[in-house]
């Protein structure tokens, strides 16, 4: 929905916002089915999780994966044959947010169909 094409997908599959082009209209914030976008008051632009793009392009893990004390967050490459995250997605019970929208999100959730007790 971006009117100026500031929102784009990198060749490695990460969706990013070009803050040099973003006009800050908030259209993507309204449209996002995952509620993952927000307008930053300081920059006047829309922002979202970048999967720590500056880190993953250097072979590091995203900061939240790195520091999570219980290992609840994992990050990996699904195109890689023997990647642990790929094996989890293949063999465990995972689901995505808003599956009926068929948007093929790349964030998978383990055991989301269980109730919180």
């Amino acid at each position: 929905v971006c009117p100026v094409g500031a929102s784009f997908r990198t060749p490695d599959g990460v969706v990013l916002v070009d803050s040099e082009r973003c006009i800050g209209c908030g259209y993507c914030v309204q449209a996002c089915p995952y509620g993952s976008r927000f307008l930053d008051e300081r920059t006047g632009c829309a922002h979202k999780c970048t999967w720590c793009y500056h880190r993953i392009t250097k072979g590091l893990k995203p900061a939240c994966v790195e520091v999570c004390p219980t290992g609840a967050r994992l990050f990996g490459d699904v195109h890689h044959e023997d990647d642990p995250v790929r094996k989890i997605i293949e063999h465990e019970r995972v689901s995505v947010l808003q599956p009926h929208l068929l948007t093929e999100p790349q964030a998978f959730y383990l055991g989301m169909d269980k109730e919180v007790r």
């Binding site: 009117p3 100026v4 094409g5 973003c22 006009i23 209209c25 259209y27 914030v29 006047g44 599956p99």
Partner: protein
């Protein structure tokens, strides 16, 4: 795969678009209404709108020129607002709006220019110096009246007027206006 229900995402409960976005349709209402009134006279030859036709045209243009201001003020980066027209993403409805708005502005500007061209040329002849240069630039041509060109320039609007006033004789109306109209006429439709 299953669906989560009863969960609200932040953008479901918080509306980012505010009063400025409401201002825009209010202003654009003036634009569209005035444009219809002026078109009824200049394009469709409804004589009863003649007294207000030019005022309505100016109203339409003035409000159209400022209608984007509330929208721009609402952006995080108002100075980049023109990028919607310069580098549009055609999958976006907002970019489509930008292109429609710009084409509306172009059509209205052209209409104003065609209707006021005689006054501009005459003002250029009367005035001197810088004012004359300004009017000459506005006229986009040497300050001759070029009467014989008028029938061809106003042919589309004449066709529309002919179609509107005489639906059954539309073929004759169109051929009559495009071919042998030798009588020199003033700009705009018949008076």
């Amino acid at each position: 795969m299953f669906e989560i229900t009863g969960y609200a995402f932040p953008n479901d409960v918080h509306i980012h678009w505010s009063l400025m976005i409401v201002m825009y349709p209010y202003i654009t209402g003036f634009v569209a209404g005035a444009f219809i009134v002026t078109s009824l006279y200049h394009l469709f030859d409804r004589k009863e709108f003649k007294p207000v036709a030019r005022l309505a045209m100016a109203t339409s243009f003035c409000f159209l020129a400022v209608a984007t201001f509330p929208l721009l003020l609402h952006l995080g980066h108002p100075e980049r607002g023109v990028n919607v027209v310069i580098t549009p993403n055609f999958a976006s409805a907002m970019a489509g709006f930008g292109l429609l708005y710009t084409s509306y502005l172009i059509v209205l500007t052209l209409e104003i220019w065609f209707v006021h061209r005689f006054q501009i040329i005459e003002a250029a002849r009367r005035s001197r110096g810088l004012k004359r240069l300004m009017y000459k630039v506005l006229a986009l041509a040497p300050t001759t009246r070029a009467r014989k060109r008028w029938p061809s320039i106003t042919a589309p609007s004449r066709c529309c007027a002919a179609l509107a006033s005489r639906p059954r004789a539309s073929c004759t109306g169109m051929s009559g206006s495009s071919s042998g109209r030798s009588r020199p006429t003033r700009g705009g439709p018949r008076r």
